[in-house]
């Protein structure tokens, strides 16, 4: 083995610029590929950074104390009630959707026989449901919860509508997470004389927890950003809700209304910053919880 060969082998781990250029000279296509993927990555990041910077530049100067007044009026167009409404509606939706979503996923991956017809039907339906535009959920929610159930415009109607909307997301991601748990964990648990319930609760679910939380975070993102499904179910009144049967607007609707009315565009930008920070906060919190849960194991 001469020196040159040794160098080539070392190059697998570390490659100098000159070596890389020589490599590309021999294979120009891989240079093209390299440039394309770098470009794709750079453009994606750039678009995102531009968006965030633009929102911050337009919004931050409008973050006046008025915007966070406890009471909304047409002078201060405070978004404080909307922030609280958003949190309430998010929690309410999750309380409804998470147990059903995770329960259904556990049935599909742990209890149903593999290749069962029902499972296939449920999966196809979940996939179809997650592709339906949210305004359709909004219309359904209005006809079903608001009108037929006579709940009126209320955050309860809004939360149920959103729950149906995010159910497929939670169900599918949870199912994927459960399927990814190695069968050897299940075998180990059964082999020690544990029953199905114990195996699922003590072994399978904890291992799948990070994946399940990722699904829940995805769902939270959709809830916080949703407008179309809420306008005709939770309504767009400006006050703080005083119960689940009260109507109220979330931040996203608040922003939509401000921009739509055209009188408070600046405040709409300010609200956008608040929404951005809220989503960032929720995501950070969720991943913190996920880390806590998985390090406990």
């Amino acid at each position: 083995m001469d020196d040159k060969e040794i160098k080539e082998i070392a190059a697998i781990n570390k490659i100098t610029f000159a070596q890389r250029m020589r490599e590309y000279k021999r294979k120009p296509l891989s240079l093209v590929m390299f440039i394309l993927v770098v470009l794709a990555a750079a453009l994606s990041v750039l678009a995102l950074v531009f968006l965030i910077v633009y929102i911050l530049v337009m919004g931050v100067p409008n973050l006046t104390p008025d915007l966070f007044a406890w009471e909304y009026n047409s002078d201060n167009v405070s978004c404080m009630p909307a922030i609280i409404n958003t949190v309430v509606i998010t929690l309410l939706t999750l309380v409804i959707a998470v147990p059903f979503g995770i329960g259904a996923a556990i049935y599909l991956s742990e209890y149903a026989k593999r290749g069962n017809k029902l499972v296939k039907v449920i999966r196809t339906m979940a996939e179809t449901l997650s592709g339906i535009p949210s305004i359709v959920y909004g219309l359904f929610g209005m006809l079903c919860f608001v009108t037929a159930f006579s709940w009126g415009y209320s955050i309860l109607a809004g939360a149920f509508t959103l729950a149906i909307m995010v159910l497929p997301t939670i169900m599918r991601t949870t199912e994927e997470a459960l399927i990814a748990v190695p069968d050897s964990y299940r075998e180990g648990s059964f082999g020690l004389g544990a029953g199905k319930l114990r195996t699922v609760v003590k072994t399978v679910l904890p291992s799948a927890m990070p994946g399940i939380l990722a699904g829940v975070i995805l769902a939270i993102g959709r809830i916080v950003g949703e407008t179309a499904a809420l306008i005709y179910t939770a309504g767009s009144t400006t006050g703080l809700v005083d119960g689940v049967m009260d109507s109220g607007r979330t931040l996203a609707i608040h922003m939509y209304m401000l921009a739509n009315e055209g009188l408070h565009t600046n405040q709409a930008w300010g609200t956008a910053v608040v929404l951005l920070v809220l989503v960032l906060g929720i995501n950070t919190l969720s991943s913190f919880i996920a880390k806590k849960l998985s390090s406990k194991k």
Binding site: E187, G191, G195, K202, P206, K297
Partner: protein
């Protein structure tokens, strides 16, 4: 004394006839080894002894398998059966928990909650599996950080923690280095005073080293079953002789 007796047992995976008319009985406090080429049904038979085959879809078993003369496919609760008949798998499969929680998983499953009692079981199980000295300072650390050999001995300790009567070992050393394998073989010889051990192995030297009885399987049939010395020095069947002398398999 016979611990397990198998009579006229047939096993099917869907249409595939995986085990054909097996008759066998395994003695208490002895090591019995199943040998044979891949796909001969030895692992399948082992898994039938604690009903792990129940988890396989389309698996059907006929015949009679008795543990202490009690039909294990009859009225016996499958979870009780698996408590009495522990299993160590081919690939070490510690749960993604701490060493302590891994060992305590079985006892907790069977209703032991008291901390002092669990502490005692954890220590004695790890001692029995000859790994206490290596692990006593890292009981709270994740079991996934252990080496392959340590993980497998941890799994043995985990199986011992529920105080089984029989220990099934499904090629438990096939993924380990010779030193770890040696430790586990030593362990088996020590454990057979208290437990009945039934093992599947691809390693004929291993069967020769530690098994008291050996059964040779081929294409779903049990060809020969006898004392290990007998099988390896003076096999009655020609197929057995061909296999152990390495002419096929």
């Amino acid at each position: 004394m016979d611990k397990f007796t198998i009579k006229n047992m047939n096993l099917y995976y869907g249409k595939f006839h995986a085990l054909k008319d097996v008759n066998l009985s395994m003695q208490e406090n002895k090591i019995t080894a199943f040998i044979g080429p891949s796909g001969c049904g030895k692992s399948t038979l082992l898994k039938s002894l604690n009903r792990m085959n129940d988890l396989v879809e389309g698996c059907k078993i006929t015949g009679d398998i008795r543990l202490d003369n009690e039909d294990i496919y009859g009225n016996m609760d499958v979870n009780i059966l698996r408590k009495r008949v522990g299993m160590v798998f081919q690939k070490a499969n510690p749960f993604p928990m701490s060493v302590y929680d891994n060992i305590a998983y079985g006892p907790r499953t069977h209703g032991i909650r008291k901390k002092s009692e669990l502490d005692e079981i954890v220590e004695s199980s790890l001692r029995d599996a000859a790994i206490w000295d290596e692990l006593k300072d890292r009981l709270k650390k994740s079991a996934l950080g252990l080496s392959g050999g340590q993980q497998q001995r941890l799994c043995i300790a985990r199986a011992l923690a529920v105080k089984p009567e029989v220990l099934l070992m499904d090629e438990a050393t096939s993924a380990l280095d010779p030193i770890s394998t040696g430790k586990i073989e030593e362990l088996c010889l020590k454990l057979k005073d208290q437990y009945t051990i039934i093992m599947v192995t691809h390693n004929m030297q291993q069967a020769l080293r530690i098994a008291d009885y050996t059964a040779f399987f081929l294409l779903g049939e049990m060809i020969e079953y006898d004392k290990t010395d007998q099988i390896f020095s003076n096999p009655k069947e020609k197929k057995t002789e061909e296999y152990i002398t390495g002419r096929f398999g």
